[in-house]
């Protein structure tokens, strides 16, 4: 086992990712400069962006883990997992402060269950992850529709207060997610699990021959991605005053855009946590800039799509799905 770790250590992870992720911060800073020109409350915008960027970071990290597993690996069920986890958590908390822990655990469990279900489908039915997670996402969405539609349960007051807490201009939520991101950074670059999933993403067969338990690690990755989505669902419901059906919709594109803009390859095999932070802030600041400029909802959709596509076109992945 030791020799495997030694061998994996020489993979040039850093070299691949080093340059690209910096651009997301450059972009974020540029957009912020524009905001500080056009807006009277640029600092307030930054604070608000940081809150929402926390959600982008959580789903982005989950998606990044899955994408790291290699060509074709993607989780399209994230938006629906967010919705269901939010509903389940709010229902169990039932607007009282006593059951907050139970609600959070249940929300995370929903995410873990969807993740395990996703990998079960991929493994047992042998279908591409894209199809499996697309179909499972619709099944999950159906649960939300059937059991929770029209249900308006407010989050417990202390949880709402918790996620809205700020230290000066820095939201507590952002610090919390930043801490998770730092842990994830070390998990990905220093831990055995991190090296294993990079190895799987770079060459599954070689990883398997190197005695890496490919399926166990993939299962763990999909579960982790689900847990991140579940946590997002709980926090987003607490932040937004309750769960709604369409709550997770915007996270489909953004969960993929965040890691890609942050310098992770969509073809897998590399990952970059700092880039997740830069890309999340960048995308959120753009959204706030469009908001400040009074852009209509339709135009905002168009510009979001065009900007993300522009970056992806310009960045130009050199490797592609087979």
């Amino acid at each position: 086992m030791y020799s495997v770790r030694e061998r994996l250590r020489v993979l040039p992870l850093r070299d691949i990712a080093a340059a690209k992720w910096l651009w997301s911060f450059v972009g974020a800073i540029l957009v912020y400069l524009v905001i500080s020109v056009v807006s009277s409350d640029a600092v307030g915008t930054l604070t608000a962006s940081a809150s929402f960027a926390s959600f982008f970071m959580l789903v982005g990290m989950g998606q990044m883990l899955v994408i790291t597993l290699g060509p074709g690996n993607i989780d399209l069920s994230i938006p629906y997992t967010i919705g269901l986890a939010g509903f389940v958590a709010m229902k169990l908390m039932n607007a009282t402060n006593n059951e907050i822990a139970l609600g959070i655990i249940a929300g995370l469990a929903v995410g873990a269950a969807v993740g395990a279900f996703n990998f079960g489908l991929i493994r047992l039915i042998r279908i591409p992850p894209m199809i499996a997670t697309l179909a499972s996402g619709f099944v999950v969405q159906t649960f939300s529709i059937v059991f929770f539609r029209g249900l308006q349960i407010k989050p417990p007051v202390s949880l709402s207060n918790f996620v809205a807490t700020r230290f000066g201009i820095v939201p507590l939520l952002f610090l919390l997610v930043l801490a998770i991101a730092i842990v994830m950074h070390y998990v990905l670059t220093r831990s055995r699990f991190g090296r294993y999933i990079h190895a799987i993403g770079q060459n599954t067969k070689a990883a398997s021959l190197a005695a890496i338990k490919v399926n166990t690690n993939k299962l763990l990755t999909y579960v982790l991605c689900g847990v991140f989505a579940g946590l997002t669902g709980v926090l987003l419901s607490a932040f937004g005053g309750g769960a709604t059906l369409g709550m997770g919709h915007e996270y489909l594109l953004n969960s993929i855009a965040v890691p890609v803009i942050g310098g992770s390859s969509i073809a897998g095999g590399n990952s970059n946590v700092p880039g997740i932070l830069g890309a999340s802030l960048f995308l959120l600041l753009i959204l706030y800039l469009l908001d400040i400029l009074g852009t209509a909802i339709g135009l905002r959709y168009i510009l979001t799509g065009v900007i993300i596509l522009g970056i992806i076109f310009a960045g130009g992945e050199r490797t592609r799905r087979k």
Binding site: V139, V146, N215, L253, A296, G298, G305, V306, I312
Partner: protein, 319 residues
């Protein structure tokens, strides 16, 4: 009908179509038992009406999947097209037409870029879905509009003996099949899905091929949107939000594979019909339409599971 069967036999063995036919019958037979009326002329017309736009979009998705790509934005495109024909075209026909042509052009550019910049079609088309919906919401913020009468007539033609949707679906399946298996374009298309390198090294421009294929996807999406607008008589940005799952499911139920190369137009049309019928069956069983999209997803997974069992010995392909 004989023509169809002969065409099927030449190109693909009937074995490939066994699963799509079986899965459609599994849905159709309970419907026919519950409501024998549906097998009559008018019944079939009502039953399969919605299969017209869905099968057009599914054939589009099939072309994308034949070269190993996917169009995640097709449902948003179909919604946009209903808004263009229902709102823009009734005021300014030329502008509407220009927009539709622009869509085909954009699709061709996307196809070429996918190849030239080595991009992943899922990322790019999810991005495009925002653009399509943004345009649609700008044109028509809430459902409404004024669908031209000609579209409404075209989707409810009274044809002697055979209900129009049935006739249409058969023609579409045969046309799709002929394009795939009887044209140079079809051979190259399946070649790209099967062995991209071989096609490229035989001197064909993959970028042009991808541009052509995506242009075709856009065109079929537009036809789908026009048909849907004619049937629902409203312009609605979100009318086809489930089309991404339904078209992918239709292609896969029809025996197509996401790995590309392996593809069936007849199967894709059958798959689209099955997906349409699922909704009807749920209605007849008095199950809330809330369950519909989940049921459609579950059926896709079930059929894929069963077909996977049949070839379990071949080993894991994607994992």
């Amino acid at each position: 009908m004989m023509n169809l069967l002969a065409a099927v036999r030449r190109g693909n063995s009937l074995q490939v179509l066994l699963l799509p036919i079986l899965s459609m019958l599994v849905i159709l037979i309970p419907i026919a038992v519950l409501r024998p009326f549906v097998l009559k002329y008018v019944g079939l017309q009502l039953l399969l009406n919605m299969a017209i736009p869905l099968s057009l979009a599914t054939i589009g998705q099939m072309f994308a999947m034949a070269i190993g790509e996917i169009d995640f934005s097709i449902g948003n495109l179909v919604g946009l097209v209903t808004c263009i024909v229902g709102t823009v075209m009734s005021h300014n026909f030329g502008l509407g037409l220009a927009m539709l042509l622009g869509i085909v052009g954009t699709y061709m550019l996307i196809g070429a870029f996918l190849n030239l910049r080595k991009l992943s079609s899922i990322v790019v088309t999810i991005g495009m879905s925002f653009v399509w919906t943004g345009l649609a919401v700008t044109i028509q913020p809430s459902p409404g509009g004024n669908i031209p009468a000609i579209l409404q007539k075209a989707t409810s033609l009274a044809v002697p003996f055979v209900p129009f949707p049935v006739l249409f679906l058969v023609i579409l399946a045969v046309l799709g099949h002929l394009v795939l298996f009887r044209t140079n374009f079809g051979i190259l298309l399946r070649g790209i899905g099967g062995n991209l390198k071989a096609v490229s090294q035989s001197g064909h421009s993959i970028a042009w091929m991808e541009a052509a294929v995506f242009g075709l996807v856009g065109l079929l999406g537009i036809l789908s949107g026009m048909a849907l607008a004619g049937i629902t008589t409203s312009a609605d940005a979100n009318v086809a939000s489930n089309y991404t799952l339904l078209t992918v499911a239709g292609v896969m139920l029809g025996g197509g594979s996401f790995a590309g190369g392996k593809i069936s137009a007849v199967g894709a049309v059958l798959g689209a019909c099955t997906m349409t019928l699922v909704g009807t069956l749920l209605t007849f069983l008095q199950i809330s339409p809330d369950w519909q999209i989940g049921a459609q997803g579950t059926i896709l997974l079930l059929v894929l599971f069963l077909s996977g069992l049949a070839q379990a010995q071949k080993g894991a392909r994607y994992v």
